[in-house]
């Protein structure tokens, strides 16, 4: 098996546009997918739960990365958009009796509409000012989640059933793994395709140089709103999956803290990178679990560590974000590129 082609032997532009270029990368992609299909059967429920949370985080992080990483529109309201998706889906399924597989995309669309409304200020506001405007969105939506009780059941929380499609109920972590996995893979493919085609180029153009984008014929308002819509759509999907997984949702699940966690994901993973969203999501979900595991093993010798676990967790979060901003501002995706570039020529990297 030849490991790598050492040159460009492509004879058509179509070949040049294929995502996975070499036999090698295709092979590993398929191997990875097969691995994903088989491995859950050998994992216990706790690990599966973590995997599912990672899957949901990937979908949400992809959404935020399209908006903030690719289009350059910072959003501090992503957590609230997750909430809208969760409540919309819960309301559609529990109160209106709409089947889950229709309710989930509908929840996405409803969230997209909210996203577009709160994206309107982006036409006039940039950077810090837009951050404040989206922060307002966060608080307005939080207020709505508490006070629109007929829909959300307020602070008491809303009970949600496990989703079922055609009589098949996703009532175990294992079954849910496949549901989330499928949606996460679809979301990844969709996002990747968007950023390499016309709309995605318009997004990046707006981020890099909005004046020339406009002069080249890009309708800034339309594409900023589209970015908000798609970002919120994915947030809505993630929220919907989340709601039906944890089966009880309250407004406290969708606070500003969640928004910041998602921002941290794309900063650590890599702004403006699809694979970066995935790395960031994996990292941010795994980190507290690893810390919890560590504090569990250490609690034998240092009993008080359990008491201050929450504080340690926040502290380590903050520290890691600072370390990333200083040493790897382009995120894990950039590091990944470097590693790949190194191994491409290994062992003759000169």
């Amino acid at each position: 098996m030849s490991a790598h082609i050492c040159g460009d032997y492509k004879t058509s532009y179509k070949e040049d546009m294929v995502l996975f270029q070499t036999f090698f990368s295709k092979f590993w992609l398929i191997a990875f997918l097969i691995f994903l299909c088989i491995i859950p059967h050998f994992l216990d429920n706790y690990v599966l739960y973590v995997c599912n949370m990672i899957g949901i985080a990937i979908i949400g992080a992809l959404g935020l990365n399209i908006l903030t990483g690719f289009t350059g529109q910072i959003s501090l309201g992503h957590g609230a958009f997750l909430g809208i998706g969760a409540y919309a889906s819960a309301y559609l399924v529990m109160d209106l009796g709409i089947p889950f597989f229709i309710a989930m995309p509908c929840a996405g669309l409803i969230t997209a509409m909210f996203g577009m409304v709160f994206g309107i200020p982006s036409l006039r506001l940039k950077g810090l000012y837009l951050a404040i405007a989206t922060l307002a969105a966060q608080f307005i939506i939080e207020y709505l989640m508490v006070h629109v009780e007929p829909v959300t059941n307020g602070v008491l929380g809303k009970m949600v059933d496990f989703p079922s499609i055609m009589g098949f109920t996703f009532d175990t972590d294992l079954k849910y793994f496949y549901l989330i996995g499928t949606v996460a893979i679809l979301a990844t493919i969709m996002s990747k395709n968007i950023v390499r085609t016309r709309s995605g180029r318009a997004f990046i153009a707006i981020r890099d140089q909005y004046i020339s984008a406009e002069v080249m014929g890009v309708n800034l308002f339309k594409y900023k709103l589209l970015a908000f819509a798609f970002s919120s759509f994915l947030a809505g999907i993630a929220g919907s999956l989340w709601a039906h997984y944890v089966t009880i949702i309250t407004p406290e699940h969708f606070t500003i803290g969640v928004s910041i966690e998602y921002l941290a994901m794309i900063i650590i993973g890599g702004m403006g990178s699809i694979i970066g969203s995935i790395f960031g999501a994996v990292f941010m979900v795994l980190l507290p679990e690893v810390l919890r595991g560590l504090s569990g093993t250490l609690s034998g010798e240092f009993p008080m560590i359990v008491n201050i676990f929450a504080a340690i967790k926040e502290g380590v979060f903050g520290l890691i974000i600072i370390i990333f901003l200083v040493y790897e501002p382009d995120g894990m995706a950039h590091r990944w590129q470097m590693i790949k570039a190194y191994w491409k020529l290994w062992p003759f990297s000169y």
Binding site: Y13, K14, S199, D208, Q209, V215, M216
Partner: protein, 273 residues
Amino acid sequence: MGEGKTASAPQVILEAESVSLSFGGVNALLNVGFKVEQGDIYSVIGPNGAGKSSMFNVISGLYRPQRGRILYKGKEITTLPPHKIAPLGIARSFQNVELFKGMTVIDNLLLGRHIHMKSGLFSGGLFFGKAQKEELRHREFVEDLIDFLEIEHIRKKPVGTLSYGLQKRLELGRALALEPELLLLDEPMAGMNLEETEDMARFILDINRERDTTVLLIEHDMGVVMDISDKVTVLNFGELLASGTPQEIQENPVVINAYLGDEDSVFLAGRAG
């Protein structure tokens, strides 16, 4: 297209009618009017701060003048937003390179094809059938452009890593990707060495002749301006000083006094002769 130069009564492609633009109390443009004929290379010259770039910004819709009108092919475009002016066939480059630094050369040029493409968010996300074919078709167009500009070797490089001269050339390419009928070039030779300047002049002449593109040019390099322009307009402190052929402008005492200067004009005459 293309009858401009040969027809007996040349068509006016762009007309500025007594355009005035002020920022606060400062007059950037005062009653500026000129006509650009189809197929010409039309240069706008003048000292720094004369209002040349402001004029370009008015034409491309970034600024809205307080008074006056801009007519493109007889249609008023003064109040149109920039993204509606581009599809009419007007493209421009910027004085300070304003490329999309995070994108590759190919993607920058493909963004120039934006108005010629149709696929939306959803079809792009599926990347199947029509959207894929469309990407492919425009990729071919862009590759022709890469060939024309002789930048094959950098086609997949992120723009931020390129040298200044190449960035300038790429910005010209991005404007060309729009297939404009009127091309506004804001100091395309600024900061270039002699070789790069000559390359750029050659590209501009090629674009003008082979692609039937009218070129409106702002440039400080008088040698180039006088060599390649069909018409020259001089701005000074926001006001129009003179318009005419390069020869007329070089001999115009007002222009010599205000801008070219005596020694310069001697130098130019020597170069032209």
